[in-house]
């Protein structure tokens, strides 16, 4: 993509060519009205967030008594809202923040590891039924998670063969395993498919040379594939991280309404229902939940854009 190269003082021939189409479309729309439209879009996309952000730093009476735009003429600042939502006994978002972390990390590590291994097998190992199995995994991408939820939940609650139940606060691991497993399962088909495509791009000679030198699959996988795959794995990992952190449905269903293991999204959605008018708390709460994805997104934006097309089909 030419967009990522830094612009030199004199644009290269290639850049001029690539930009000509955009330029001409741009010129056609470059009227005062066009600029006006761009500014309107930018404002509509920014002001809602800005309003909530400003409100999160205003005292309760101000938030409830006047619009956030009056802050510009009548500024006030407090961190009370944040301390109230984080540690207040009725909101206690600090606990849910920790739950979000505890839910998210294994839900990223487990599926990405398993998917990398399976992708390697599909790309470079020979075994009977390989292509058929790969097509089956590929096809599983189209299954909406809603279709799987109730039977999967019953499997967790009453597993076959007398295995111990995974659901509920009495269960092994306090009930987190149902959420970890579900996120892992739902991530697998897409992750395997994408990583397989990336691995296929590695020259076969490289793998064959290693085979001739006597390296087994395990060695090739850990010494050759993993280092080469790191950028792709990172991109996928970031996507899975954001997906799990922002998820509401999986946590609601597989957390079984157990607030002890619920993530921020579940708690916020609940507060939005029960404390719907307490905007000083809701605004601060919203930003507590937004801060992590925003940091991840802003610091790793280039990976994000790269995996964008692939990642958004999921769920």
């Amino acid at each position: 993509m030419t967009t990522t190269t830094p612009a030199p003082a004199v644009p290269s021939k290639k850049q001029q060519r690539a930009n000509a189409a955009a330029e001409s479309a741009h010129q056609k729309l470059s009227s005062p009205w066009a600029s006006f439209a761009a500014i309107v879009i930018a404002v509509v996309w920014t002001v809602p967030t800005l309003g909530l952000f400003i409100s999160s730093f205003r005292p309760e009476d101000d938030v409830k008594g006047s619009g956030w735009w009056t802050w510009f003429t009548n500024p006030s600042f407090t961190l009370d809202n944040y301390s109230a939502v984080l540690s207040g006994s009725d909101t206690d978002l600090a606990t849910y923040f920790i739950n979000s972390i505890v839910i998210t990390l294994p839900s990223v590590v487990i599926p990405i590891t398993l998917a990398t291994m399976a992708a390697y097998a599909f790309a470079w190992m020979k075994f009977p039924g390989r292509d058929l199995l790969f097509v089956a995994v590929f096809a599983m991408q189209i299954v909406p998670i809603q279709v799987t939820m109730i039977p999967l939940l019953s499997l967790y609650v009453t597993p076959p063969f007398g295995l111990p139940s995974l659901a509920g606060s009495e269960a092994f691991g306090g009930g987190f395993y149902t959420i970890w497993l579900s996120h892992s399962i739902f991530a697998l088909p897409l992750a395997i498919y994408l990583l397989h495509n990336f691995m296929k791009e590695i020259p076969a000679e490289l793998v064959e040379a290693a085979r001739v030198d006597g390296a087994g699959h395990v060695r090739i996988f850990t010494r050759i594939m993993l280092p080469l795959m790191t950028p792709s794995i990172a991109a996928l990992g970031i996507f899975q991280f954001l997906w799990v952190w922002n998820d509401l449905l999986v946590a609601l269903v597989f957390g079984g309404g157990n607030l002890d293991i619920s993530p921020l999204t579940v708690r916020l959605a609940e507060l939005s229902g029960t404390r719907g008018q307490d905007w000083h708390l809701l605004s601060a709460g919203a930003f507590v939940s937004l801060v992590v994805p925003l940091i991840v997104f802003l610091s790793l934006q280039r990976y994000f854009v790269r995996g964008l097309l692939a990642g958004s089909v999921k769920g």
């Binding site: 189409a21 996309w45 809602p48 487990i110 937004l290 958004s312």
Partner: protein, 320 residues
């Protein structure tokens, strides 16, 4: 559980998982001969294949089966659940809303994304302008819903307003409006939230596609005297058509499964429920397992053609 116990569980889960995987890899590496090969294959494929089979394939088939049975899965009822979806008044509202969502959201989000991509292309602030539109993609739909609930906040006209939109209405002398409660337009105001989230995705993909249009085409068109909106219509849009289709279908799929926005903003009340939300209500609130399963299967059926088309277009894009 205390915070400490949760972190212990977290560490146990990750450490246990990585330790087991490492141990299995080491063992598989040690075993040579034909057997070792088979063992290695098993180790690499089996965990993922087993999880997919138990967690996606079996539950999917099971749900299709349950959709032909009654609320408690005690007896076979044929197509009764599907009949309910297409005849019951409340369910018809759900279908109507879902249709509106899926028709409106992709078109508007893509259109806004495309126009914005062209408008800011090669402007001095391009990177910054893009981030502004793109940021909503990173946050949760719950967070986005809260942000917009605040925008839509309602107070009686004589009171001081705290919602931006009602303040604007008041400024131009119109009575304040209950954006999320007043049917039938409240569904449109929920859709605005989804458009707000998805437009950044459309903008990013389409912006890259526009920049990739070969210059010869544009030069040739220019020599033929094509310019302005005609250039946009006859050169730009046809050139980025595959990307446009991928964007439209991708947003359609996401929209068909929209759940978080409806639940957070209105709780599905005031005639705003959609398929994915109704599935949740029937399955986990009303405990009507059969109807819930039928709704899930309906989402599945609706999503299949879009996904197939989407994947085919995406492969065509990748092949270029």
């Amino acid at each position: 559980m205390s915070t400490g116990e949760k972190f212990v569980q977290l560490i146990i889960a990750i450490a246990l998982f990585l330790a087991v995987m490492a141990a299995v890899l080491v063992i598989a590496d040690r075993v040579k001969s034909k057997r070792g090969e088979l063992l290695q294959t098993t180790v690499f494929v089996l965990p993922a294949a087993l999880m997919i089979a138990l967690g996606l394939l079996y539950p999917g088939l099971r749900t299709i089966y349950e959709s032909f049975r009654d609320a408690n899965s005690t007896q076979f009822v044929g197509l009764e659940n599907y009949q309910t979806i297409f005849t019951d008044g409340a369910q018809l509202t759900v279908l109507r809303n879902t249709a509106i969502w899926v028709l409106v959201t992709p078109v508007l989000a893509t259109f806004i994304g495309l126009v914005y991509a062209i408008l800011i292309d090669r402007s001095r602030f391009e990177k910054f302008a893009k981030s502004l539109i793109f940021l909503p993609m990173a946050i949760s739909l719950v967070g986005a819903s809260l942000i917009w609930k605040f925008v839509y906040d309602y107070r009686a006209t004589e009171n001081a307003q705290i919602g931006v939109l009602n303040e604007l209405l008041k400024l131009v002398g119109i009575d304040t409006y209950r954006f999320l409660l007043t049917e039938p337009w409240n569904t449109m105001f929920l859709i605005v939230i989804m458009i707000w989230v998805q437009a950044g995705f459309a903008m990013t993909i389409l912006s890259a596609a526009i920049k990739a249009i070969p210059d010869d085409i544009v030069e040739a068109a220019k020599l033929d005297g094509v310019s302005g909106t005609r250039m946009f219509r006859y050169i730009t849009v046809p050139s980025i058509r595959p990307s446009l289709i991928v964007v439209l279908t991708t947003i359609s799929i996401a929209t068909l499964k929209v759940f978080d926005i409806v639940r957070t903003a209105t709780g599905g009340n005031f005639e705003t429920s959609v398929l994915a939300y109704e599935f949740y209500v029937q399955s986990f609130r009303s405990f009507n397992g059969g109807l819930g399963a039928a709704l899930a299967v309906l989402i599945f059926i609706l999503v299949i053609p879009i996904v197939v088309y989407n994947i085919r277009q995406m492969r065509r894009l990748e092949a270029r």
